[in-house]
């Protein structure tokens, strides 16, 4: 057995890349969970094609998974990767530009057939033509080694091929000193009904490990110690799972049944999938015939006394806007989750973007204001969607919760919240017929009473026509309409009285304030931290509440020479803040279907500082 030295690393970024059929998402997820359990801080970025299984070897068929982990604070999936695992030439071609100079490449040599090279558009074999000189290339015939390991099992070649990703995983486990047990357990559970597949995968995983351990090619091995995270119990979680669980937690704390009316759409479908697992929690999931039925059934459920929720992405939101107006008019609780993706139209279904903010704020006919909240990180989806539900119930209003493909599919370690300490957000259903009026509002919140069918003596009727103040009867009188329009607006504005004031991360005054919302949090934080380390007067302010905005936001903005708003759109929050506060804020805008790199924001701040 060969001599091996071990190096310590503070952080490292690895990218697994292969065909959509190669199981790279699974490999990445396994590596992530194991890494999380080791106590590293981490951030991940899955990146897969819109096609299910694009033909093998093609560039558009490449599926990738990047993980950035370390013993330090990790805020992004990593601007560039240090290690690239490429199962074929296409994977190499597509991902090479994201590899740092001097980075390592582990290639499955067998994948480099002339056919595949051609499909990837390589004139010559990069493994031979020296074009990879500036990198450290490890050539491993993963396919052959996998086949060898499975020789005596006489599995179909299809199945043999399917398990080769575990070989790569095994090697990386060895290389970065991760235990195989978590994955071994997972395989054993997952394939308990398919013993031969289970056996195969286990063998190949170990084979990969042993290969790395025994052969000469890998001389060094890396050690990445646990991160100094706040003490407590952690789990790794994706944004979509956190959203599903946040909704369940809200229903539990509200003592309501959770009803999800939804229609599948990338990248939101996983929330529907996740919630449909929890029937024993009384969760009712309804896969409707379309988005309109999704939201209107949820409105019906809320009318009946459930916590109505609908989940979708941009194109689906477009279809729901009429019904959102209805929810505004009938003033019932409703949570609309928009897991944003690249637009316009069908756009880039599997890519991330933040271009639905203005749609969330203004995309309805008439004056129809609703609260809009956005999550900052995958785990933050839990708290933010919980808060969205709380406001929906307390203020009897539809609430838009914004996430995006990057947050929804990305994951990070999550300090598990103390469920008992979470607030009771249960509504008081109206039951007393004495003086009941469907639109008699709460003095403080302006919320109308929630009187559900089945309650004797509260029979009443609601609808989308303008309502008379107090009685809720149909009414077209000029003064009443203006009053109701203002009451509905005022109700939402009053939410600002109870939400936390905006908090600056860094000095309260200074040269540059970087204001962000949603999934840009991590990249902005890294960029701002680097500047502060460099001694620059740069602060960060990240908004969870986009409507209403925190009361103190204006003063804060005025305390800075420059306000920079990085967004994955053409400048939407920018418009909102400029209109409201008349501050000459400037935007940094990227619309590539990809999250920001910290360096992009860091550079922009430099420009501003240079003036």
């Amino acid at each position: 057995m060969a001599e091996k030295t071990t190096k310590n690393l503070e952080e490292v970024t690895i990218r697994f890349a292969g065909d959509s059929g190669d199981g790279m998402q699974l490999t990445g997820t396994q590596f992530t969970n194991t890494t999380a359990i080791l106590g590293n801080d981490l951030s991940t970025l899955p990146d897969y094609p819109a096609e299910i299984r694009a033909p093998a070897g093609t560039l558009f068929g490449v599926s990738g998974f990047q993980i950035h982990f370390g013993s330090t604070e990790i805020n992004t999936p990593g601007d560039q990767c240090d290690v690239l695992v490429a199962m074929n030439p296409a994977a190499l071609k597509v991902n090479l530009q994201s590899l740092v100079d001097g980075g390592s490449i582990i290639v499955n040599t067998d994948g480099f057939s002339d056919k595949n090279l051609k499909l990837a558009g390589y004139a010559s074999n990069p493994l031979k033509d020296g074009s990879l000189q500036k990198y450290q290339v490890y050539e491993v015939d993963i396919t052959k080694l996998t086949a060898l390991a499975l020789q005596d099992l006489n599995l179909s070649s299809k199945h043999v091929d399917r398990s080769k990703n575990f070989f790569a995983l095994g090697m990386m486990y060895w290389m970065y000193n991760r235990p195989m047990e978590p994955t071994i357990d997972w395989i054993t559970k997952k394939f308990k009904d398919k013993p031969e597949i289970m056996e195969a995968n286990l063998r190949v995983l170990k084979a990969g490990w042993n290969y790395a351990e025994t052969t000469e090619i890998f001389s060094v091995r890396y050690q990445v110690g646990p991160a100094r995270l706040a003490p407590g119990k952690y789990r790794n979680i994706t944004g979509n799972q956190a959203t599903a669980w946040g909704l369940m937690a809200a229903a539990a704390k509200a003592k309501l049944d959770l009803f999800l009316g939804s229609y599948p759409i990338t990248p939101a479908s996983d929330i529907l999938h996740e919630l449909s697992l929890y029937k024993n929690f009384g969760v009712k999931t309804f896969q409707a015939e379309d988005e309109i039925a999704g939201i209107t059934s949820a409105i019906g459920a809320s009318f009946a006394g459930a916590l109505g929720v609908t989940t979708t992405s941009g194109p689906g939101v477009a279809l729901k806007t009429e019904a959102m107006g209805l929810a505004v008019m009938v003033e019932l609780p409703l949570v609309i989750c928009n897991i944003q993706r690249g637009g316009p139209s069908t756009g880039l279904p599997t890519k991330t973007e933040q271009a639905d903010l203005l749609q969330a704020l203004y995309g309805r006919n008439g004056e129809a204001p609703i609260p809009v909240l956005a999550a900052a990180t995958p785990a933050d989806c839990f708290e933010t969607v919980f808060e969205s539900a709380r406001l929906a119930i307390k203020y009897m209003t539809p609430v838009m919760f914004l996430s995006d493909g990057y947050l929804g599919n990305g994951s990070e370690p999550w300090l598990i919240p103390d469920f008992d300490k979470m607030p009771d957000i249960s509504p008081k259903f109206r039951t007393n017929p004495e003086g009941f009026l469907p639109y008699l509002r709460d003095e403080k919140t302006l919320a109308r009473p929630w009187a559900i069918p089945g309650t004797p003596g509260l029979e009443h009727r609601i609808g989308g026509l303008e309502k008379q103040h107090l009685t809720g009867n149909v009414n077209y009188e000029p003064a009443n309409h203006e009053l109701m329009v203002k009451l509905r607006a005022e109700k939402i504005e009053r939410i600002a009285n109870e939400i936390p004031l905006a908090k600056v991360d860094g000095d309260e005054k200074g040269d540059v304030l970087v204001v962000g919302w949603g999934g840009t949090y991590g990249a902005i934080r890294s960029a701002v931290m680097r500047h502060r380390e460099r001694g620059n007067s740069v602060s960060q302010l990240h908004l969870r509440y986009l409507n209403p905005l925190p009361k103190n936001l204006g003063e804060i903005l005025y305390n800075f020479k420059h306000v920079l708003i990085p967004e994955l759109n053409l400048g939407q929050l920018l418009k909102v803040l400029r209109a409201k506060y008349l501050v000459p804020a400037v935007g940094l805008n990227k619309v590539q279907g990809l999250p920001f790199k910290a360096i992009e924001i860091e550079k922009k701040i430099d420009e501003i500082l240079k003036g």
């Binding site: 359990i37 539990a252 024993n280 459920a301 209805l326 259903f429 089945g454 003596g457 029979e459 989308g464």
Partner: protein
């Protein structure tokens, strides 16, 4: 975990049943339909039937879309939801899934239910939630002042079709049957007794009940159904479907429907060639027959079938949903959020 809703349901379950009269189902809102509108009769029959259902008023929900017909819920002294155009069936589905304990009624029009709302309708029918659908068919868009609708006869001259409409009309009964509905019926605003029996049958049906109601819009489509509703022509133009009975019609009950191969034809019972025994006997439970009868609808020289085309049973959607939940709770135990949060791979940082 007991939800607030369950508490309310349990409390009110104790309240002993009330005796109602039709009046108890009249709301305090003044009815705003045109004088003479067929909607008045449908409202009256519904209010008359409700007391017989033995369901507490507060357990009833009437849900509608947009249209003259869709104003209906405002006039019922029950819970009501005047939704948006075409979506009543979807809203109702949500109400029923959330609250199987409620009696849920949808009121819609030929435009609301068959034009913009067609998709939600056919999906509700195939899912078979226990929801009652009353489709007021006046073969016109009333509220928007008279454009043709999906049930208007071809060639209809309206504001939007001065040269006559080009669309072949839907046959609502056939569409419902094609959507695998379990209960499909047709009745008329001007036959109160018949409407009442049909409404009762619909209420008693376990599953989605689709009731098409011929309704006269005396402002924009006056007399559309007079051939079937008025004394002088009714007997010769309508055949009433009665379970287990042969299809006989005519003023002197001297005509009948016979199957020639599988095509219905009118035969005389007078000229001695055919007797009642040769006639088609109605069977509400036969889906194939229901298609044959529905298909008679626009056929010239065949009387218009009125009554219950089909009444069969299939598992009820929301009940199956409840069953799955009960099953899951039994199998995995009542869900515990705290447990869930701590389940699976976790680790502790000191």
């Amino acid at each position: 975990m007991n939800t607030l809703v369950q508490e309310i349901i349990e409390q009110t379950a104790k309240a002993e049943p009330q005796k109602y009269s039709a009046k108890d189902f009249q709301s305090d809102q003044d009815v705003r339909w045109c004088p003479g509108c067929g909607d008045y009769s449908i409202l009256a029959q519904t209010q008359r039937v409700m007391p017989d259902l033995g369901i507490p008023r507060h357990k009833m929900v009437f849900i509608s879309g947009i249209g003259c017909s869709s104003r209906f819920p405002y006039y019922m002294n029950t819970y009501g939801f005047h939704g948006i155009h075409g979506r009543a069936t979807a809203i109702a589905s949500g109400v029923k899934m959330a609250r199987p304990d409620l009696s849920v009624w949808v009121v819609t029009g030929d435009g609301d239910g068959l034009s913009i709302g067609g998709n939600h309708l056919i999906h509700l029918l195939r899912r078979n939630l226990d929801v009652k659908i009353l489709l007021f068919n006046n073969q016109i868009y009333g509220l928007t002042k008279g454009q043709y609708s999906p049930t208007s006869e071809k060639g209809k001259i309206t504001k939007s079709t001065p040269y006559g409409s080009l669309d072949y009309p839907f046959n609502p009964a056939a569409l419902a049957l094609g959507s695998s509905a379990t209960f499909v019926a047709r009745t008329m605003d001007r036959d109160p007794k018949h409407m009442q029996t049909i409404l009762k049958r619909a209420a008693d049906h376990k599953g989605t009940a689709f009731v098409e109601i011929y309704q006269n819009c005396n402002v924009f489509n006056d007399g559309a159904f007079f051939q079937f509703t008025e004394k002088d022509t009714k007997d010769e133009s309508v055949v009433f479907l009665e379970h287990g009975k042969p299809l006989v019609f005519g003023k002197e009950r001297d005509k009948g429907i016979r199957l020639n191969g599988f095509s219905p034809e009118v035969v005389s019972l007078k000229d001695g060639r055919y007797s009642v025994n040769d006639l088609l006997v109605h069977n509400e439970q036969d889906t194939t027959l229901s298609f044959i009868l529905a298909d008679m609808t626009y056929k010239p020289n065949l009387p218009r079938p009125i009554g219950i085309f089909l009444a069969t049973l299939r598992p009820v959607y929301e009940m199956e949903m409840e069953r799955q939940i009960a099953f899951a709770k039994e199998k995995r135990g009542e869900g515990d959020m705290k447990k869930l949060l701590h389940s699976g791979d976790t680790w502790v940082v000191q």
